[in-house]
């Protein structure tokens, strides 16, 4: 049985999907048949798309099931769709990640940094390791006062040949991450390298933990704030993008 509000939501979902290929021919009533649930997720009226990156960023190797992961092969086409969609005007990137695959993390970060639509990132909880390039890839970045970012050098897994070239290779891989962060934030390469090699900040590794405001002070993140500030900034960027001035 369909009530009026459900009918409306179906219509709004269809109109929202108008530029996104043919709509699925299922009405709300068929959700029980198709999905085993009484209602589909409600249709979003928002022109902002929220992309959450949580847990490990999974790259070329599938991680064992106890890891909570964000899969890059799913996120990258989503970003393409967001870039192309007529309805989505801005992207809000929410980060609570412990890091993960360097290639996958940098791939997502490069995608976000080259989007034409306004992007704002918000670090909640943690944005560690490869989460740092992701946080700075947006046009404007926010960090919650209690959120942390761990800046530390990359490591290598698997067989490592103990030759000077290995060190050189690791250095170059580290530079990919460092250069990306330097390109997209206000921190200098020297300062970032200093944070990377800091001792005394972590119990079993070199590196530095930055909490909330500290990340802003070092110039990695733009502002301290929460969801309200992030959305406000995104709205401002959207109106600038559309040719109007800020609110």
């Amino acid at each position: 049985m369909l009530n009026k509000s459900e009918n409306l939501s179906v219509q709004s979902q269809q109109s929202q999907n108008a530029d996104e290929g043919p709509a699925f021919p299922y009405s709300q009533a068929e959700n029980i048949k198709e999905f085993g649930v009484a209602s589909a997720p409600p249709a979003l009226d928002s022109d902002i798309h929220c992309l959450t990156i949580v847990g490990q960023i999974e790259g070329h190797i599938m991680l064992p099931p106890q890891n909570k992961t964000t899969k890059y092969e799913h996120v990258i086409p989503q970003l393409v769709a967001i870039e192309q969609s007529k309805n989505i005007k801005g992207l809000l990137l929410i980060l609570n990640t412990v890091g993960g695959d360097v290639e996958a993390g940098l791939a997502i970060a490069e995608m976000i940094s080259t989007m034409s639509k306004p992007t704002v990132s918000l670090v909640l909880g943690g944005g560690h390791s490869i989460g740092v390039p992701l946080a700075v890839s947006a046009d404007c970045s926010f960090i919650a006062p209690s959120a942390t970012m761990t800046i530390h050098p990359i490591r290598m897994t698997g067989l490592v040949v103990g030759i000077p070239q290995t060190y050189e290779y690791l250095n170059r891989m580290q530079d990919r991450v460092v250069d990306f962060i330097v390109r997209h934030s206000k921190i200098s390469k020297e300062k970032l390298n200093e944070l990377l090699k800091g001792t005394g900040g972590l119990s079993s590794d070199v590196g530095t933990v930055l909490i909330g405001e500290e990340a802003v002070r070092y110039g990695i993140i733009d502002y301290v704030g929460g969801v309200k500030e992030a959305i406000l900034k995104l709205r401002e960027l959207i109106s600038q993008n559309e040719g109007g001035g800020p609110h």
């Binding site: 999907n17 999905f35 890891n67 799913h74 393409v80 769709a81 698997g158």
Partner: protein, 74 residues
């Protein structure tokens, strides 16, 4: 592969060899190719979307983890 994470490697790969996943299979559902895991009688859980249409990846009905019902072909 280079993992850049604060999580110790031994936690990430603690049961790397354990066979806890069932084998995924490929199906076509509403003209979208999906990699699915069996989830009971005629039901599948979406593991991955294999589509060249980027909007399939934003479709709320085609997100990984969602259970879909596939009618048997008569």
């Amino acid at each position: 592969m280079i993992l850049h994470t604060i999580v110790p490697i031994q936690y990430i790969f603690s049961d790397y060899t354990a066979q806890t996943r069932s084998t995924p299979r490929l199906i076509e559902w509403n003209n979208v190719k999906l990699e699915v895991l069996p989830a009971g009688e005629g039901k599948y859980q979406i593991n991955r979307i294999l589509s060249t249409n980027p909007f399939d990846y934003l479709n709320p009905r085609l997100q990984p983890g969602i259970i879909i019902q596939v009618d048997p072909k008569i």
